[in-house]
Every structure is written in structure tokens, then in C-alpha cells.
Symmetry: C2
Subunit: 169 residues, 2 copies
């Protein structure tokens, strides 16, 4: 699928069919995530692949905006691993780029996604940490909910010239 079409038609998809996400597609999503840039190429990320129904229900209990998780075949919890940072403080940016890559690779495969934020909302971090046994020094940043879309992709142009400044503010 054309890259620019992917960029401009990726939208949050919150309704899914019952079709599972294949192992091949899952691996491609994770490869795309790990192809993201990171500060000093530290790649300070970890991924929890969640297909188990009970654990997807746990996500919904942990996160007020993840109510679609139990109805999706797949969730990916993207975590920052502070111990892998070479330049402390950049893990959020690194892992956000990884998440965006997952979402775009999914769009290219015809899969729908929605990014539900965890960090820096402490009660969500604590709940997700407990639900998945995430150790200290690893912080769940966000959860990508993935499935075959039961709603259309559509293009929306958000370009806003007021947000563009030339050579100075």
C-alpha cells in the first residue's frame, strides 16, 4: 500500500470484526515498531502481546478509554525500559515513534488500531504494571488495540497553516 495513503488514512479504529490477527501480521507490526529511531539507537522498548481474553478484559478494567480491548483480537502494551536508555529522558519519544510505526504498519496491512495512553497517568501505569507483572524500571507507555476494522478508514486533512512558522516564531 502506498506510504502517503497510509499516512493520510490512518485513523483511530475502535470497532473490529471477529477475525484474528495472524502471527505473520503480528510479527510485522513488531518489526515495524523496532525499526523506529531512538536516541543513540538505544531501542529502549519492550512489548507485551496480549491475545488472552481475560487479560484484555483486565486492560479494560485498568484503563477508562480502553473499553474496546476485550472485543479486539490483539493488544500490544508498549513499554519503556529505562535500563536500556543511553541518553536518559528520551524513552517516551523513542517508544512513541515505535507505537506510530505499529499503527502505520497496521494500516498498510488493512488492520485498524487505536492508541490508548497510559504513562504519565499514574493510576493507569500502576494498574497495568500490576495486571501484567511489569518490573520496576519498565514503564507502560501506551497500549495499541489492534483488529480487523468494522468501520471505514477515511481521510481527514488536519493541516493548519496557523501552526507553521517560518524561520522564527
Amino acid at each position: 500500500m502506498d506510504a502517503l495513503e497510509v499516512l493520510f488514512t490512518r485513523r483511530s479504529i475502535r470497532k473490529y470484526t471477529d477475525a484474528p490477527v495472524s502471527d505473520a501480521d503480528l510479527k510485522l507490526l513488531l518489526r515495524a515498531a523496532m525499526a523506529a529511531p531512538s536516541a543513540n539507537n538505544a531501542q529502549p522498548w519492550q512489548f507485551i502481546v496480549v491475545r488472552d481474553q481475560a487479560r484484555r478484559e483486565a486492560i479494560a478494567r485498568c484503563h477508562p478509554y480502553a473499553q474496546m480491548a476485550p472485543k479486539a483480537p490483539l493488544c500490544i502494551v508498549v513499554c519503556g525500559d529505562l535500563g536500556k536508555e543511553k541518553t536518559p529522558g528520551f524513552w517516551v519519544q523513542d517508544c512513541s515513534a515505535a507505537i506510530q510505526n505499529i499503527m502505520l504498519a497496521a494500516r498498510a496491512l488493512g488492520l485498524g488500531t487505536v492508541w490508548t495512553g497510559v504513562h504519565p497517568v499514574e493510576e493507569r501505569v500502576t494498574a497495568i504494571r500490576q495486571a501484567f507483572g511489569i518490573p520496576d524500571g519498565v514503564i507502560p507507555l501506551g497500549i495499541v488495540v489492534v483488529g480487523h476494522p468494522a468501520q471505514p478508514f477515511s481521510e481527514q486533512d488536519r493541516y493548519d497553516e496557523h501552526k507553521v512558522h517560518y524561520d522564527q516564531w
Copy 2:
């Protein structure tokens, strides 16, 4: 260009030819940035397009890892606008997704980029703020240096199975 090829062949490019980046390509990069997801769709980003030579030299003085900026035809300073956030604390993730979109759109156009981090390194934030007159409440997150590549794109598979966990840590 194929989306998956873009995702897997985007690499940091630090050497550029003398060719300028066209206005059409610049606009497409900014449209791609603004097509990124954001918490509550707040779109809390601002962009400073830097083509002026003196200002690109200023970037190199402000940032130890942006020495390629004076030799690139274009830099884009991506800033978070705290006043536009609907859910405080997510602007870094939102703007990081926007940066990643810029980098991928550039790759699709055959342009090379490198992401130089600014926030949370306070001395870089202060220096860039002063150089461009960025107001309080707006924080420079990173600078994307853009140009026509004078070095090849190449694919590198960073997939690491040790970073993948299934249903629990």
C-alpha cells in the same frame, strides 16, 4: 512508495546534496505531521520551518548533535503547545508521532532526515527557545533535519525476540 518499504528503510541520514526541498514536499511533510494521532485529538503541535542559513547555523550552535543542520536545506523545529493540550502530559507522545510521520513521509519522497532531540535537555530547550523566540508554554521537542540524501538508504532488521512478551511480562 510502498509503506512497508518506507518503514523498514527509513534510516538516519546526515549527509545531503545541495538540492533544495521544494515547497510542495515541505507542505506534504507538514501535512503528514499533522495527520498524527494525539490524545483527545488535541493536535498540540507547532512547527518552525527553518531554511535561513544563519538560523540553521544557530541550530548547530545550540545543539551538539545538530552539526549537519547548516549543510541541510531544511530543518523543522517541532514544538509542543501546552495550551492546546486537552489531557495534560501527553504532548511529548503526540509530537513524537508527528515527527515520526515527517520522517516517514520524507522517506517516501526520497528525502533523508535525522531526528535531533531537544527536550528534555534543558540547555538545548533554552538555547533553541532564545534562538527562535519561542514563547513560554511552547516547548521545542526536537528538530528534524531534512535534505536530499548523499548517502544510501539501507534496511536493517532490529527485530529482537527478547523484547517480546506474551500475555504477561
